[in-house]
């Protein structure tokens, strides 16, 4: 996931839009969804047996991977005029750093 924070976790919805659904809405949303998925896997296992459970787990996992891969990266437009900088103004990559010296 983008936006790894050492000091405190960012609201993940501000970094990623779209799938994966698991990451939106915060911890309670995740817990509820995981709980329901866990329940679904249990039901399938009881009704259809172990092989179907494995197949369902594979499908769910693949869906999560595809969802994560296809999630869009949110980009912000930051005005840079009038701010001190290092490097060339026309460089292909611009890093804006918000800083507190203390």
């Amino acid at each position: 996931m983008q936006g790894t924070a050492i000091s405190s976790p960012p609201p993940l919805s501000s970094h990623v839009s779209g799938i994966p659904l698991l990451w939106l809405g915060g911890g309670n949303c995740r817990k509820n969804i995981l709980k329901r998925l866990s329940g679904l896997v249990s039901v399938v296992s009881r009704v259809y047996g172990g092989k179907m459970r494995k197949l369902l787990l594979i499908i769910l996992f693949a869906g999560l991977l595809i969802g994560t891969a296809s999630a869009e990266i949110k980009r912000y437009t930051i005005p840079v005029e009038g701010s001190p900088s290092f490097g060339q103004r026309d460089a292909p990559l611009t890093i804006v750093e918000f800083i507190d010296y203390q």
């Binding site: 983008q2 936006g3 790894t4 924070a5 050492i6 000091s7 405190s8 960012p10 501000s14 970094h15 990266i73 949110k74 980009r75 912000y76 437009t77 930051i78 005005p79 840079v80 009038g82 701010s83 001190p84 900088s85 290092f86 490097g87 060339q88 103004r89 026309d90 460089a91 292909p92 990559l93 611009t94 890093i95 804006v96 750093e97 918000f98 800083i99 507190d100 010296y101 203390q102």
Partner: protein
């Protein structure tokens, strides 16, 4: 910057935390040095010496890096660059920032003091994307 040379521009925005005693004055010091064309030196010396960023120390650093100390002092006293700091503060609040440092790498937000290798990974991804 050293690693990617002219492929990267690093822009500094000031987000002094209001409950830190010297956060604001050190931002003013950076801009005062920038007015004399010595932003880089002041920026790096403050990063090295932090948290020793009281007014007396800042004046000493200004002298150390060869600034016109009287002009520097006047800039601090008159809060000459207050508007720039307020502008950056407003921008930070509009962006809902809650931590420093926060980076925007071609607009991608990275929050906190993340490992260099992670930053580098993002930089490489963005440089590769820019080539396409």
């Amino acid at each position: 910057m050293k690693e990617y040379g002219n492929k990267v521009q690093l822009v500094i925005k000031f987000y002094p935390y209001k409950y830190r005693d010297f956060a604001r004055i050190s931002a003013e010091a950076a801009l005062a040095a920038s007015d004399q064309g010595r932003f880089s030196e002041m920026h790096h010396i403050m990063l090295r010496k932090s948290p020793q960023l009281d007014r007396t120390s800042l004046l000493a650093y200004a002298k150390e890096i060869g600034l016109d100390v009287e002009k520097f002092r006047a800039s601090l006293d008159t809060k000459k660059n207050d508007k720039i700091i307020e502008r950056d503060l407003k921008l930070a609040l509009d962006l809902d920032l809650y931590n420093t440092p926060t980076f925007f790498i071609n607009g991608r937000r990275i929050i906190g003091n993340v490992p260099y290798e992670y930053l580098k990974k993002i930089v490489v991804e963005e440089l590769n994307a820019a080539k396409k």
